[in-house]
Symmetry: C2
Subunit: 270 residues, 2 copies
């Protein structure tokens, strides 16, 4: 367990993370219009020049602000891997969406202290929505507090798992980790499943707009912010799969959202 960090320090880290995500969003929106290159990586996923530009920018800024901190990101090697404080960044989560013009991508910035998330930001620049949390200080979107347990404000009903919207990632993510049967079963069983992959699904769960999200086959930087955002908003976060792969990055399967809905979903993915 990480020792309790002073509130002033947490607030400073959170303010820096928010400022960095804002600047990252400005780069993304500008380059979306000016154009950029896109290519496949060795794992067949996509990367664009904008991913690289934003990750370079974030690494340079974090290195200047906190030279002793570590940095873990998708596109470049880790910095200070032994440091107590580690910044996990994903410049564009949802690169395929971004490169095609689907506006549901986002920038993820999280700070972990001794392995525990203490600050988290997910910014959707094209939607003008910025979610943030600091350990012990709640979750906010554009300055408004978020509560997973409540439905969106006008609909104050009790949470019934079968009446909530459930979100999953792309089916291919589940095929890759042997969970396609569970994916298919949930889609047949529940009348309101949507496939909203990437961090847009994550923040829908954080806001309580959907009952929960099930996301498998994802990396540490994809989930770095989600646990804190969900838990600080009163939700439940379960890591249902940790798939270690020799010579490759570990893949995770997570289920998160309103506690009753998460509990209803768990048996499908056990």
């Amino acid at each position: 367990m990480s020792p309790r960090l002073p509130k002033a320090l947490l607030k400073k880290f959170l303010a820096q993370a928010l400022s960095l995500s804002k600047k990252a969003g400005q780069i993304i929106l500008k380059r979306r219009i000016s154009g950029y290159g896109v290519r496949r990586k060795s794992d067949r996923s996509f990367v664009t020049d904008v991913d690289l530009e934003v990750e370079r920018f974030l690494r340079a800024q974090i290195g200047k602000l906190f030279p002793a901190h570590g940095i873990i990101g998708e596109e470049f090697p880790s910095v200070n891997p032994g440091a107590d404080f580690q910044w996990l960044i994903d410049p564009i989560d949802g690169t395929l969406s971004f490169s095609r013009g689907v506006p549901l991508y986002g920038t993820i910035i999280a700070l972990h202290h001794l392995g525990r998330p203490v600050v988290a930001v997910v910014d959707h620049p094209a939607l003008n929505l910025r979610y943030s949390a600091a350990l012990g200080h709640g979750t906010y979107c554009n300055g408004m507090p978020q509560f997973v347990k409540a439905q969106s404000l006008p609909v104050k009903t009790s949470v019934k798992p079968r009446e909530e919207i459930i979100v999953m990632g792309d089916r291919a993510q589940f095929v890759g980790v042997g969970k396609e049967a569970a994916f298919d079963a949930l889609l047949r069983e529940h009348p309101r499943v949507r496939i909203y992959p990437d961090c847009f699904g994550h923040t829908l769960a954080v806001s309580g707009a959907v009952g929960a999200m099930v996301d498998f086959g994802i990396h540490s930087w994809d989930i770095a912010a989600t646990r804190l955002l969900i838990e600080e908003a009163g939700g439940k976060y379960v890591c249902a799969q940790t798939l270690k792969r020799p010579g490759k990055e570990t893949l995770y399967g997570i289920i998160f959202g309103k506690p009753k809905v998460v509990d209803w979903l768990l048996p499908f993915f056990k």
Copy 2:
């Protein structure tokens, strides 16, 4: 076939439709914050006070501007059913999303002349995206011309159906009209299927961000704008199912987007 309408008249109708959608969006965003009631209709779908308020507003405005025109909308009886010009309106397409806080809903306004769509608008107020088309004059989003055939600008590759994102509506829509086997088959066969229901999926296809959308079990007002938006952007629109139901509204199944992708999808839903 409808006789050719003068350009000045089409432009006037389009400007009015855009102005109406803008005002509808202002009501929706304001009421989203102030709160509203929500209940189920007899067909188990949802309606909110905002749907009713916006439809009443649109009907009153259209009635004032064009008293001889007909009006067809989801929540109230038709007006002037024999008129050559018919306005088809859906105040909030995606009411479930709206009522839960998922920002991917929209207002649909279309004008048909002798059964043929001549003006079409889909407005996403929470996303600040407004798509519009007039017969023979192209499709625009926030003033920028849209071309279905092109991928989003930075990725100038040829269109390969298996590499495009495919969008479908909720599985329940397909179950209701006997197409769940086709839904399941496509989801297993294609690696990049997303479930983005309602008009958000439609406008993703119009912009070329996704290869095509498959949407079944929907009403005349759900599709009133889509055909014109797609065709004026150079895309293909196929009505693959017309399900007449005694004493109930007809349900449609449509497939639309980049012509090569639509052709690839058709055999699944034949």
